[in-house]
Assembly symmetry: C2
Homo-oligomer: 279 residues x 2
């Protein structure tokens, strides 16, 4: 099922890259998996990291600096791609906010995108089933999820809709309300159609008001992030959490931008947050 693309020893564990034929995305998909050093017979809890616009599995693998702390805490880190891939997948090559690299962790309903753009089902169902069926020492009964930007939106929405699956959720600079942000509205319309009621299931702030399925949320956000005011707007998340009684830890980080220089700085904090809730 899974084909090993590469394996490299790192911090006493192994950084893998695997590829496999995806049914729900109707294409070959690639993902990164870090396996920490483990005692014989032990299995690692699984933390999912969802990346942002334009990324593949590789950006966080190269620049996220998660391995040292994941090794120390005994966490496996799974980093999926951000969209279906391949020449047969419809795309807008001049638009970095839609199509390949911009799957928005939803299941598209509109032609011609519905055939491939099913990243919600991919992350929720297909990839975990593939991992569970593998011989990797992963404890699939203990999972958490986090992500960056579009992937922060993905992590929060998946956690809200699958509280039995994820013990904790956090985000770096998430898109708080994609249904109203200028940079995501066109994508949601193309993937899900013009009826905005269909978008509600993929909007963190609206889902929080609806679901009451999580108790707490950790978010780090840089104050020098160029997307802060128009794309990200964490205050909308703060309002939604307050109204729904969700305890939000929102750390506004002075002078930090939207890059992996920001993410890597606070990676340890997020991994510790998840590890404490996976014990």
């Amino acid at each position: 099922m899974m084909k090993q693309i590469s394996a490299a020893r790192a911090f006493g564990g192994t950084q893998f890259v695997f590829a496999h034929a995806s049914q729900v995305c109707a294409c070959d998909m690639t993902f990164a998996l870090y396996l920490p050093p483990l005692p014989a017979g032990a299995k690692a809890p699984v933390v999912w990291y969802l990346s942002g616009l334009t990324c593949t599995h590789q950006n966080v693998m190269d620049k996220g600096e998660y391995r040292r702390m994941a090794a120390e805490l005994g966490l496996a880190i799974v980093c999926p791609d951000t969209s279906p891939r391949g020449d047969d997948v419809p795309d807008e090559t001049d638009n970095w906010q839609f199509g390949k690299g911009a799957g928005f962790y939803l299941d598209a309903t509109q032609a011609p995108f519905a055939r491939n753009y099913n990243m919600a089902s991919y992350v929720r169902d297909e990839l975990p089933a593939l991992l569970a069926a593998s011989d990797l020492p992963l404890d699939m009964t203990r999972q958490s999820i986090f992500g960056h930007s579009m992937g922060g939106h993905g992590a929060i929405t998946l956690a809200l809709k699958n509280p039995e699956r994820f013990r904790s959720v956090s985000a770096f600079a998430p898109i708080a309300q994609p249904s109203t942000a200028n940079w995501s509205r066109p994508a949601l319309e193309k993937y899900l159609g013009a009826d905005e009621r269909a978008w509600r299931g993929y909007d963190s702030t609206l889902l929080i008001a609806d679901s009451h399925s999580i108790r707490e949320l950790l978010v780090d956000q840089g104050t020098a992030d160029p997307f802060l005011d128009n794309g990200l707007r964490p205050w909308l998340l703060a309002d939604a959490c307050k109204a729904a009684g969700v305890h939000l830890t929102l750390n506004m980080r002075e002078g930090y931008d939207h890059s992996y220089f920001f993410i890597s700085t606070f990676m340890d904090d997020h991994l510790r947050w998840h590890a404490a809730r996976l014990r």
Copy 2:
């Protein structure tokens, strides 16, 4: 003199990229500089990291994972490019072991390379003078140097020839004896000419025998490094150090390869080694 290309906050400090017109390389050059958080009025000691074949300043900036520990230890990290750059610089575009990305930290003597390929002078003289003349809070009286592969060779040779400049030196998987390694002999001949006596000044093992200018050396080397037997050969370094009375700490790291997964794993150890000697 220096033009700031980018600056991003990271681990409480700032990751800069600068460009400038280089006299000794007769082209524009780019380098990365990490400045740790510092008390008001303080200056950071400077640790030079020299990269390997095919790299620019960016590979270690993205994948080296040096910022967390550099911030903790208060070290500035300077990462130069590995060769002159630009359309006017002679190159062999199909050869990754020569030309652009493969400057070997030497001063070429042969046409047409001698005009641009002067990375020894660049790292030894020009770039430190540029930094010293800047308003960056750098303590140029305290410097150390390390590097990877071709950059490990560069670090060791520069340290051996400039003991007054570098308080400590270390390397990840250095090319121990470039004058005899198959993958570097053709480059040395093209840069320095057929007379091998001219190569001696750029060969770590031969310089150690000649100079007696350093007392100790830290080297980490992965046992699964595909270049170990033909390109790197740390046992030649061990022999040279033993004969010259240099205390070599050679850590053979089981299962590690030649990549930044290896380098990042042992980055903390090397930064601590240098910090202890820069105090």
